[in-house]
């Protein structure tokens, strides 16, 4: 089971793109919030949950996904969206609250919807789980072999929604994959205070034999690739749902502005040492004969796309005020 060069190259480019996107967002978010940080002001107001460090979770599975596969994402959605191929310009414009945004500015960073690539997200922890199961059910009803992926954090795995959705998905044998991004925290609450089981893949056994659990450690994109490949294939073949838990790293606060008083000192520095992107870059050069300039050109391409998206968002106008009253009903 080797990974093709094309896949590796897509994975690197996309991880890099996602990271660069978040780095830009981190900067953008502070615009207009200094010297006084006010969450409701600046270029991008509201809560902002960045995925910096968590790229392998999204990229390792999305390499196996098609446009017609479904993704339901939670409050920390950018890496998932980028990996799924959500329109980057319109996504960025949405986050800026502009009329050219995916939802004309009405959704925002936690409510990105791009039906063209079957992407949605929600700010309510756990809410995407049954919705993705229902999308999987629709695929099955329409005799399509598309699969549905619900991303959640390890914190979300303790919501009732997790249990109900997996039970349903197993009973109906849906093409359904739950990716649990275990970044050790739900806001400030460490996994040990939220989760009674060692890892959530072990919970697969609570839902019958057709549900398989996978555990990916060390935030490893290659291991994520392999686990996901099997899970996606099983789903496409109608063999049942999967739970993949990946150990991943949240480099930043829960949201931007989080003082992170709950974090042990030095933790972030240690995690940064294990940054998956330079590690993956090294691996590509060492084990997969990628050349530096090849990688640089992937990086440049990624940057270009992101820069273009931000420029588009900046240049776009705010929606007309009456837009606020539209779309309650269709």
């Amino acid at each position: 089971m080797t990974i093709s060069r094309k896949e590796l190259s897509w994975m690197y480019e996309t991880m890099y793109k996602s990271r660069y996107y978040e780095d830009e967002m981190e900067k953008t978010y502070t615009e207009g919030k200094t010297p006084v940080f006010n969450i409701g002001s600046g270029t991008v107001p509201g809560e902002m949950h960045l995925s910096t460090g968590q790229e392998p979770a999204a990229i390792g599975i999305s390499v196996h996904l098609r446009k017609d596969d479904i993704v339901a994402s939670p409050h920390r959605p950018h890496h998932h969206a980028i990996a799924k191929g959500v329109d980057l310009k319109r996504m960025t414009a949405e986050i800026f609250g502009k009329k050219t945004g995916l939802s004309k500015g009405k959704g925002g960073h936690m409510h990105l919807f791009d039906p063209a690539v079957h992407f949605s997200c929600s700010g309510i922890v756990g809410a995407g789980l049954p919705q993705a199961a229902g999308a999987a059910l629709a695929a099955k009803k329409k005799n399509k072999d598309s699969v549905a992926v619900a991303y959640i954090g390890e914190g979300a795995a303790n919501t009732g929604s997790f249990h109900e959705s997996l039970n349903l998905a197993s009973l109906w044998n849906l093409p359904y994959i739950v990716v649990v991004e275990n970044n050790s925290y739900g806001i400030s609450v460490p996994k040990s205070a939220s989760t009674s089981v060692a890892s959530n893949d072990l919970r697969a056994s609570a839902y019958g034999d057709n549900v398989k659990g996978y555990y990916v450690k060390d935030n490893d994109p290659i291991a994520m690739y392999h686990a996901s490949k099997e899970a996606v294939e099983r789903a496409r073949k109608g063999e049942g749902p999967s739970i993949i838990e990946i150990e991943t790293y949240r480099f930043l606060g829960h949201f931007q502005g989080d003082a992170e008083g709950y974090r042990p000192e030095g933790e972030v520095e240690e995690l940064r040492e294990k940054d998956p992107i330079p590690l993956f870059r090294d691996l590509l050069m060492k084990d997969h004969s990628f050349k530096e300039d090849e990688l640089v050109s992937l990086e440049e391409k990624a940057k270009g796309e992101v820069d273009e998206a931000y420029a588009f968002a900046r240049e776009s106008d705010y929606p007309d005020l009456e837009e606020a009253l539209d779309n309650v009903f269709i």
Binding site: I70, A72, G101, L102, S103, K104, G105, K106, G107, H111, F113, D114, P115, H118, S120, S122, I124, A127, L129, P130, Q131, A132, A133, G134, A135, A136, L137, A138, A139, K141, K142, A148, G160, S161, E164, S165, N167, L168, L171, D326, N327, V328, F329, I330
Partner: protein, 339 residues
Amino acid sequence: METEKKRSLTGNKAMSEAIRSEMERDENVFVLGEDIGEYGGIFGSTEGLIKQFGPERIMDTPISETGFIGAAIGAASEGMRPIAELMFVDFFGVTMDQIYNHMAKIPYMSGGNVKLPMVLMTAVGGGYNDAAQHSQTLYATFAHLPGMKVVAPTTPYDLKGMMISAIRDDNPVVFMFHKTLQGLGWMDQLDTSIGQVPEETYSVPLGKAKVIKEGTDVTIVGLQMTTHFGMHAVKELEENGINAELIDLRSIVPLDKETILRSVKKTGRLLIVDEDYKSFGISAEIAAIVAEEGLYDLEAPIKRLAIPDVPIPYSRPLEQYILPNAEKIVQAATELANE
């Protein structure tokens, strides 16, 4: 055709006929919920459907309201037209997040790019001693939260016609049917729960109230059981020389305020009768609309008759004491007419 027009159906049969005809017409329509298969729905809303459509399209679910209502949302976003049944409206609390934060808001939050053409049907109402957790209507609980149409038809004719409209609507519709108006063999038998229903497909628009009886002295607004009680009350009032106008609301969102304001303009007196809790309910909203837009038409203070902000007690005399009925309507309307 003469013969068809004369056919009588109970409320539940009218509903299931509507679902049947839409399922025949559109293969994307399917139903999911607890005990809707072999059982035919606890209140008969899917009676007989599993025989025709099988368990793939009439799907019994586990007791996982968040799971299957969330699944209906996901399926709707992928082009299906699900009808999910929440067995009793009283159970909304285990799944309200899917209902109000997602079903109701995704169309808006997506800027209109994601449509959710789904129906959430649910049984409402008390009066048969099912106590505090199985007897509510909760009309206003749903109506207060934007993004869902909320309808509550009274008659078999409207149950069929509005169900067809609800299924065809591209917006999420909460379809509340009243248990006692289903005409089930094991419930109270009411004249209102059986009625003429054409065999052919027809639709009754959502968002339109219906003047059941014209009158000049006082306007009575009801819905479902309070309309039923209202029908009896207006007869008695008539006998007492009070010519009341009775409006059957039918739709809560959108609310047909024109019909109400027009009536109040004529009568100058308004009594709102509601089987929901009084405070922050339908009766409040209608009163407020009239106080805003029809104040100068009022010749007497508005009156509200609704459940006096207590959970529904079990014991029969206690439940009867707090529920609206024809007699209480007669009394309130009479007082109002004499104001």
